[in-house]
């Protein structure tokens, strides 16, 4: 038995399977990582690791274990998306920990959530004075959402009646010297327009461009391979030789 070769092949199988299964499970796993999801991730990873290096048993049972856990998670996801009650039961619910400026001690105690944790999470939200808080909600994933009292809320441009520009998402036109035709078409432009724009920017060839995007207000952002920066700022801790 060529152990290294077997481990290599089984490693490829585990890697490929995990990649496909993770895609199948979607983004929910990462975006709403609660304690149970965390354990699920570890378990699935652990099975994949056994599949790779545990040569005392064949790969198939491990793979079936991986499939079973993935199907279980997938089923749980489908159930929780379809039935709100099931979602509340499995995932829990957000809990109000500060209501109208008052800490909800009993609710916090029930969740074994300490006031220290609350203060820490408030600080992470840039709230250093609890009297500023109107509502604080502990989300399912342990994050704290905070609503400040109106008098402590930040002033917005709307409050000051300031006109704002157009906002939206920039569209990539060139990446790594290659034109992204689909995006160019989407923005109702063609190659002639693009090359004209490049000419205006004094760019002779596409190969000079690392990145180019069209912003929602019609302006163009361009980054060239040669940035022509004379004095680079060094933020590393490397000691200068005297």
């Amino acid at each position: 038995m060529f152990e290294s070769l077997v481990v290599f092949v089984r490693g490829i199988i585990a890697f490929g399977t995990l990649l496909i299964f993770a895609r199948l499970l979607g983004k929910q796993q990462i975006s709403q990582l609660n304690f149970f999801d965390y354990i699920l991730g570890i378990t699935i990873g652990s099975i994949a690791s056994s599949l790779t290096i545990d040569l005392t048993s064949s790969a198939w049972p491990h793979w079936i274990g991986l499939l079973t856990w993935t199907i279980a998670v997938l089923l749980l996801q489908i159930i929780t998306v379809k039935w709100r009650r099931a979602s509340k039961y499995f995932d829990g619910e957000p809990t109000i920990v500060i209501m109208n400026g008052k800490i909800m001690e009993n609710t916090s105690k029930k969740m074994r959530y300490r006031t220290d944790d609350l203060m820490e999470q408030l600080r992470q939200k840039n709230v250093f004075d609890i009297t500023q808080v109107q509502f604080a909600i502990l989300e399912k994933d342990g994050e704290l959402s905070v609503i400040k009292k109106p008098e402590f809320e930040n002033v917005t441009k709307k409050d000051l009646n300031i006109q704002t520009g157009i906002t939206g998402i920039a569209t990539e036109l060139i990446y790594d010297g290659i034109i992204i035709d689909a995006n160019l078409k989407q923005t109702n432009h063609d190659h002639t327009w693009l090359f004209n724009e490049l000419k205006k920017l004094n760019i002779q060839s596409l190969s000079e461009v690392f990145f180019m995007s069209l912003n929602p207000d019609g302006t163009i952002y361009t980054d060239l391979y040669r940035d022509h920066i004379e004095n680079l700022t060094d933020i590393t801790d490397s000691l200068k030789q005297s």
Binding site: M1, F2, V6, V9, I20, T56, W60, W63
Partner: protein, 117 residues
Amino acid sequence: MKKISLIFPILLILVFIFVMNMAFFIRPFIKSVPAEINKIESNIVNKNWNQAETELNDLKEDVNNKFKWMQFSIERDEMDQMLLDLTTLSGNIKIKDTSNAINSLYEIKYNWDNLGK
């Protein structure tokens, strides 16, 4: 493009399943190993020890070749046990011990039939 992104992972999973069960899939098509075992058995029963030894060497080579393909789908212990049985059989043939040789041969037969199950 959408079709490819759907078909590719399915194909990949099918390839993985085949590799992980290769022993199970290809064993029924391997006729040489059971045939060699039967030949060795008849040679041992008829006390043709020299012929049995030659057949055993062929069997060892054949099994080692097959293991190159089957190693991804079977347990290391299963392979080790089979190779150990082949070595034991080799010793039994050398000292011309009929009963122990037949015992080892039947163990080999059993191990082969249950490989990758």
